[in-house]
């Protein structure tokens, strides 16, 4: 990843961490996405692609970097929607047990950052209109 993009991501993260909304980084290159994962790990983010993992991390006051592919499960969609709209609580039905699982957290302390590629994002946004659920968005070209 070139220096400019690294700088761009760091600036994005500085501002993103002051916001209580989910953020999104859209990468043109898969390689840049992988490098960013490392950067985020160093900054204390937990890498996750599963709703239960995210719930556990947020409950433990840890920020999460969520990798999205071209498909979105109902649980992940609901989680993203609740992260921004409900500001501090997520309730999700565990599809295996159908128990309602619930966490409370402070969105200013533990953040949800979504990582995806440009091609996946186009499909996701077209189908789910995710832009409305997310605060800051940055494209890394």
């Amino acid at each position: 990843m070139d220096i400019l993009n690294t700088k761009k991501i760091k600036e994005f993260l500085d501002y993103f961490k002051s916001r209580p909304e989910a953020g999104l980084l859209v990468f043109a290159s898969g390689a840049d996405l992988e490098e960013t994962k490392l950067l985020l790990t160093k900054q204390g983010f937990i890498l996750a692609d599963d709703w239960a993992q995210i719930m556990t991390s947020l409950k433990g006051k840890q920020s999460v970097a969520l990798m999205l592919g071209e498909k979105l499960s109902p649980e992940i969609y609901s989680l993203i929607a609740q992260y921004s709209d409900r500001a501090g609580e997520i309730q999700l039905v565990n599809p295996a047990t159908i128990d309602l699982e619930q966490i409370e957290f402070n969105p200013r302390d533990c953040h949800l950052l979504i990582l995806t590629t440009e091609s996946d994002w186009q499909r996701l946004d077209e189908e789910y209109n995710l832009k409305n659920k997310i605060g800051l968005i940055e494209r890394i070209k």
């Binding site: 929607a81 501090g88 309730q91 159908i98 409370e104 409305n132």
Partner: protein
């Protein structure tokens, strides 16, 4: 930031005064758009009591707590604006009346957060279900391997049944982003609530009957279909009409964003909600409702109104820019309206009915122009008392009597017939052919008792003062005041603002009682003036302020809870000799001169001016009062049968 109590503008229960219990009145209170002074003094958008919380006056009982009650810390930095308080009020109505509601608006404007915040304040559990893509069994429940099932296979409740069993607020988010079969399953639940059923049958769990917890409530929310939310479905009439509908904007209005932004910085975000936007709870049985004069006329007008609104919506004359068309179901809507009226009736059936229609009809439309059209139609839905109960002029009386053969016959035969048509105070032609005032019927022989008519007088037998430019100014002032009180403009324009010269010192206790009992909506606008105050000019009032020649008096505590009519007698007896009793002329001067008004009166207490009384739109006689609200006077007037409160004061001017 400040704590949640300050952010929510909550008045903690311990600040509630012991005198807050209102005694039930059988006769109507004053114009319902005004608050009782007692309420006004504690006026706060969100007010917490021991057992309930009120949101712009709408009282909702608290729940029983539980692990799903959102913690208040989550909302400690919330900045609440007029927009938020209005939304809270609208949600509170649905919680109070147990009517499923559909809130439609853009993403991020605060729908979910508002519901969570209210659940926190109400100590009610919140059950969230994002409807997107979930299967029906996830929401309702299903047979699954369960540790607690003896066979190893048993029923597990989904989120919906959980909420039904435990009595939470079920929030169905993204309602129009749901699979068809899931919605069909949910309809069974919603229908059960609409039909007032107290249990739901789970066919998939061997027909288990699940009792519906009395605190169970349903709130659905959705983004408007189309546009940015292209995948969202347009609800059909069968789905849509199961809910009442609160339509919110796609994006927050600029002023709301600004208020939130300024509030976040700790600046005053200027709550401007007027008293008229509060809804205070009443309690009216269906039996009592059907006895209210004019209810049939209102129902007739309502039916006409619904047909017109529906036709306009179908033709695209209303709601044309809304991707989710508003649909109507007469029976469901009517049930809701009547339920609302029963719950919020405070003595003015026109006002309560109109508020109900604003809630259920105007709320369905987004654009200001659509709302204005609906509001205009709603303004015409009111009961107007028959013209024959109006106070007639001499000419009208003569003309009517000459046309009324029965009346003539009645008079000619010395009131032997048709006397039920004549009311005390009515002008009639006496046996001598002269216009007289009918007083009543003699108890001794049933003959009519008349007294000479001495020129234009009021029903109270009090003379009118001379009409001067001052009178005209008072009339303009009173009309302005009625406008502030949100009395219908047409009603104000038709009101005959009749000044009556009345020396309060000449009134005995029984006279005050008569005034208290005297009710006539058609005499709305009549007012009395203390002749002693007639010579006072604005300059005199200003001078008295400067020289401190006034007094604001707190009455002994044993007067608290006694009706104003009784208090009036006491005040006159106690202070009448040494002080002038100012009335409407001083009311007007204070309102027009807030900067010159005595600072001693600006203590947040209600300052009463017993020199005048005023008939409000309910037809009752009221005593005017003012209360300082930071930058100006709030004008009010209390009915002579209202209770005196510890926070009330009497204004006296030194002789």
């Amino acid at each position: 930031m400040t704590g949640p109590e300050q952010q929510f503008n909550i008045i903690p229960p311990d600040e509630e005064k012991s005198g807050s219990k209102r005694k039930a009145k059988t006769t109507p209170p004053p114009d319902s758009l005004e608050l009782p002074v007692e309420d006004a003094e504690k006026l706060s958008p969100v007010k917490e009591g021991g057992e309930s919380v009120s949101f712009l006056g709408v009282e909702v009982t608290k729940g029983q707590g539980g692990e799903r009650v959102p913690s208040s810390e989550r909302f400690s930095t919330d900045v609440l604006t007029d927009f938020d308080f209005r939304l809270m009020r609208d949600i509170a109505v649905t919680l109070r009346l147990n009517q499923p509601v559909l809130i439609e608006g853009g993403s991020g404007i605060g729908k979910s957060r508002t519901i969570d915040r209210m659940c926190s304040q109400l100590d009610r559990e919140s059950y969230y279900a994002n409807c997107h893509d979930f299967d029906a069994d996830v929401l309702i429940g299903k047979m699954t391997t369960a540790e607690d099932a003896k066979s190893g296979f048993g029923w597990r409740d989904g989120v919906v049944i959980n909420a039904i069993r435990h009595g939470g607020v079920l929030f169905l988010d993204e309602y129009n982003f749901m699979k068809g079969e899931t919605r069909a399953a949910l309809h069974e639940v919603i229908d059960a609530i609409l039909q007032g059923k107290d249990e739901i049958t789970l066919v998939d769990n061997h027909g288990e009957r699940v009792p519906v917890h009395p605190d169970f409530r349903i709130i659905a929310a959705q983004n408007p279909p189309g546009g940015k939310h292209g995948d969202r479905e347009v609800l059909d009439p069968a789905q849509y009409t199961r809910f009442s509908h609160v339509k919110l904007p796609e994006d927050l209005p600029k002023e709301v964003k600004r208020a939130r932004a300024l509030g976040f910085l700790g600046k005053d975000n200027k709550i401007t909600i007027g008293d008229e936007e509060y809804l205070f709870s009443g309690d009216l049985s269906l039996e009592a409702l059907k006895e209210i004069p004019g209810i049939e006329e209102l129902v007739d007008k309502y039916i006409e109104f619904t047909e017109t609104v529906e036709a306009m919506a179908e033709k695209g004359e209303l709601g044309a820019d809304q991707s989710q068309p508003p649909y109507f179901s007469f029976q469901r809507d009517y049930d809701r309206v009547i339920n609302f009226v029963q719950s919020f009736y405070r003595g003015d059936i026109n006002d309560t009915f109109q508020k109900a229609l604003r809630y259920y009809y105007a709320n369905r439309f987004e654009s200001d122009s659509d709302r204005a059209k609906v509001e205009e139609m709603i303004a015409h839905i009111k009961y107007v008392a028959p013209a024959n109960s109006r106070r007639r002029t001499l000419e009208e009386a003569s003309a009517e009597e000459s046309k009324d053969e029965e009346n003539l016959e009645y008079l000619a035969k010395a009131f032997g017939k048709g006397k039920e048509k004549i009311k005390p105070g009515q002008l009639v032609k006496g046996p001598d052919g002269k216009v007289s005032v009918f007083v009543g019927v003699s108890k001794a022989d049933g003959s009519p008792v008349l007294k000479p008519y001495e020129g234009e007088k009021t029903a109270s037998g009090l003379s009118r003062p001379e009409i001067t430019s001052d009178t005209e100014k008072k009339e303009a002032f009173l009309k302005e005041t009625f406008g502030i009180w949100s009395i219908d403009a047409e009603r104000i324009s038709k009101a005959e603002l009749v000044p009556i010269s009345l020396d309060p010192k000449k009134l005995k206790a029984e006279d005050w009682e008569k005034l208290k009992a005297d009710t006539d909506e058609d005499k709305f606008g009549e007012y009395t003036l203390n002749p002693e105050m007639g010579s006072f000019s604005d300059a005199d009032f200003e001078q008295m302020s400067k020289s401190g020649k006034f007094k604001t008096e707190k009455l002994p505590d044993d007067w608290n809870g006694k009706p104003l009519a009784e208090v009036a007698s006491y005040i006159i007896k106690t202070y009448g000799d040494k002080y002038y009793l100012p009335g409407i002329e001083y009311w007007q001067w204070l309102a027009s001169n807030p900067d010159k008004s005595p600072s001693e009166l600006k203590d947040g207490k209600s300052q009463f001016l017993f020199g005048s009384t005023l008939r409000r739109s309910s037809g009752h006689w009221n005593v005017p009062c003012v209360r300082w609200r930071g930058s100006g006077w709030r004008r009010d007037a209390r009915w002579l049968d209202d209770d005196w409160r510890s926070s009330y004061r009497v204004v006296l001017l030194e002789k």
